[in-house]
Symmetry: C2
Subunit: 421 residues, 2 copies
């Protein structure tokens, strides 16, 4: 895409009320717009990142047998009363609204209740199990404070998967698959090396739930990491008994701040009991369905990537989720340079390489370099009088200090050897 | 996908409170789930249709220069007070909610206000214009009655594009392009032959707005069609003067019920004046930006396709939006039949042909045929003892009476000659 056509522009300053690094950089880069505290719109560059993350998650959920649906924000209180989650005293993050006839409705903060209710139409026999259903859907959470940029917001897209199994054994088998799928996701979006499977508080049906925590100084959680085993314990369950039960040693655990980027949870029969989701076994008995839930917020992941990987010049996107793979800069007023830059642009487009082309006339080289650093595409290509003299294109990765001049043929060879992850 | 794995199943009956044909067929087919009046979830088959429609719309919007974003549902009243659209007396379809600190927020029913406000960050000069921005985003509308299935709901995805131009001339140029793009969309989703560009009431800045109306006995609108010219007049502006001004003759106009499937509207400076969106001209003057809006609801389109094309056995999906191109049925218990059906399934998958494979063991041929008719995939393939005897596969289009037996090679040739529209 030609940057002269992109309607967003970078800014020198972020809003003064924005304290988080992710929001500051994303707003300055024109990735997002702050509508109010904790509510952000996604502009073209930001939406491209979000969709890339969603697609990675979707692929991993499909690979473990997930079937995609979309539920609704508007919620009928009746279902939530049955699970005792309707009253504001029980759940303090509801946004509620009203129909014209004064009937109160909720805006969902999660979807166990409506999905369990849908499944009553389709699950009646052991032959209908197991099944795994997920969605990307907007959650509304009436957070009292929202100051972590796009990492804790009042309205956000969440991927939530729910598993429906015959019993705990079948559940555990899927739960392990989901764990691996989650680890694949964090690896693919570029924060695998910073992310730890973390033991956190469970419920009636399991001693622990599992969080995926990414090390970040701005994280809201404290975790204790065993680096050699690649696992961690959340402070909320951190004690001698737990350390021992996990076969860990207190002296090898290191305290860190971290962001919860995913969470998987054994629900057991909490919701199937309350909403009467039963199936008939092979021997004719009726049993409640055994459930699990698996959440991940694409926007929080996006914010975490910014927090974890940015440097003091701006964002550094991993290639797998970058809005464009390449940022092509044409420098100066020289007509030959412009012609060459257009040629390179057309060639990359023809080769299906995603490229943002800074073809703007009214910016200095310094301004273009600063924009490229802020926006953070993995590869920067520069066409200038200098590169023309050396009969090539200057290429530099965003995380490298210095570029080098190569030919268009060499460039295409590099990009073909390194397809999008 | 194997139908034995699909978690939804067809039903003989729809909910008794559901009066519309689209909802009845879509619920019976397991495409959607009714959460409450006017609120529907999309299950796997339904979501596939919706995404196919969205992708067609997206392609057409990108082709005319649209840049995709996503705004939010939660709305700050301040912006809407400036355009005098906050009070319930002015806009009677608001859903409203409250923050913890009692600040009232709205759930957007449209997005002129927030987008105009965003554009103030990016439009300041004639060089920034024109630009065209769109989204697929959830709208909330507090409808008093909701009884048309997925065609008029309280919560739905809408594609809304907004154009920002220097003046009316530049606006009109884009407006004509948008008209053509809309016509392409209706053609591509399979209702082009039933859809008319319809003159409807305009605003301060144009005599007419333009609706796209699809003939349907269940439509809420009445239009007067000139079949030879392919245009129509909405009853709301139908009078002698309008007929004459459009160069039409009263005697050639035919009254019809119709569904509004799209709407394009010249907004002029209504919002840029109220929210102070100005640009500086080449000569240094400040002028308000000239705007337009262009709406289309993918779910309403989906419902309209069902209403317009279904027969008494079920849905008939156009190939461009069908959840799967092919419904492959394996009939009976014969092991050779099952083996052959699996072979055909694997071959189609390998050829990237989207296929739903009815591999279920516990259903009679009659039940499988009835399901195939209800679900409405464009091609039905049958493998049975009979087709095996004739050494082939029975193929029948959903809208044909009788099938014929062809070989696998012939089948692949047909599908390669008719790629997805």
């Amino acid at each position: 895409m030609r940057q002269s056509k992109l309607f967003t522009k970078t800014k020198k300053e972020a809003p003064t009320d924005e304290v988080s690094k992710n929001a500051e950089l994303l707003i300055r880069g024109g990735f997002i717009n702050k509508e109010m505290a904790g509510v952000y719109s996604y502009l073209p560059l930001g939406l491209r990142v979000l969709k890339n993350i969603e697609n990675i998650i979707r692929e991993e959920m499909n690979a473990i047998g997930g079937q995609e649906i979309t539920m609704t924000a508007l919620q009928n209180p009746e279902l939530w009363k049955k699970t005792d989650r309707w009253e504001d005293e029980k759940v303090d993050i509801w946004f509620k609204t009203k129909l014209k006839n004064d009937t109160e409705l909720g805006l969902s903060f999660t979807h166990e209740e409506p999905l369990t209710n849908i499944m009553k139409n389709y699950i009646s026999s052991y032959r209908d199990l197991p099944c795994f259903v997920y969605q990307f859907q907007t959650k509304f959470r009436n957070e009292t404070r929202a100051k972590s940029g796009i990492m804790r917001t009042r309205e956000f897209i969440m991927k939530d998967l729910y598993s429906f199994c015959k019993d705990e054994t079948e559940h555990n088998e899927f739960y392990e698959k989901a764990k691996t799928a989650y680890q694949n996701i964090f690896k693919r979006v570029g924060i695998g090396h910073l992310t730890y499977l973390t033991f956190a508080s469970g419920g009636s049906f399991s001693k622990f739930s599992h969080e995926f925590q990414t090390i970040s100084s701005t994280g809201e959680d404290t975790i204790y990491i065993d680096g050699s085993k690649g696992i961690a314990i959340n402070k909320e369950v951190y004690n001698d008994e737990v350390i021992e039960s996990l076969g860990l040693l207190k002296e090898s655990l290191v305290e860190n701040r971290a962001v919860e980027v995913g969470n998987i949870f054994t629900l057991g029969t909490r919701f199937s009991d309350a909403l009467d989701l039963k199936y008939q076994t092979e021997t004719g008995e009726f049993k409640p369905v055994f459930m699990g839930s698996y959440g991940i917020g694409p926007a929080r992941l996006m914010g975490t990537v910014v927090e974890a990987l940015a440097d003091d010049k701006g964002i550094i996107w991993p290639e797998s989720i970058a809005p464009f793979k390449v940022h092509l800069l044409s420098l100066g007023d020289n007509e030959d340079v412009k012609k060459e830059a257009n040629l390179v642009y057309d060639t990359l487009i023809k080769e299906n390489i995603e490229v943002l082309f800074d073809d703007r006339d009214d910016l200095s080289p310094g301004e273009k370099f600063a924009d490229a650093d802020l926006l953070g595409m993995p590869y920067r290509l520069v066409i200038s009088s200098r590169s023309m003299k050396e009969q090539g294109i200057e290429i530099k990765k965003r995380n490298e200090e210095k570029g080098k001049i190569i030919s268009l043929e060499e460039l295409l060879k590099i990009f073909k050897l390194e397809p999008r992850a």
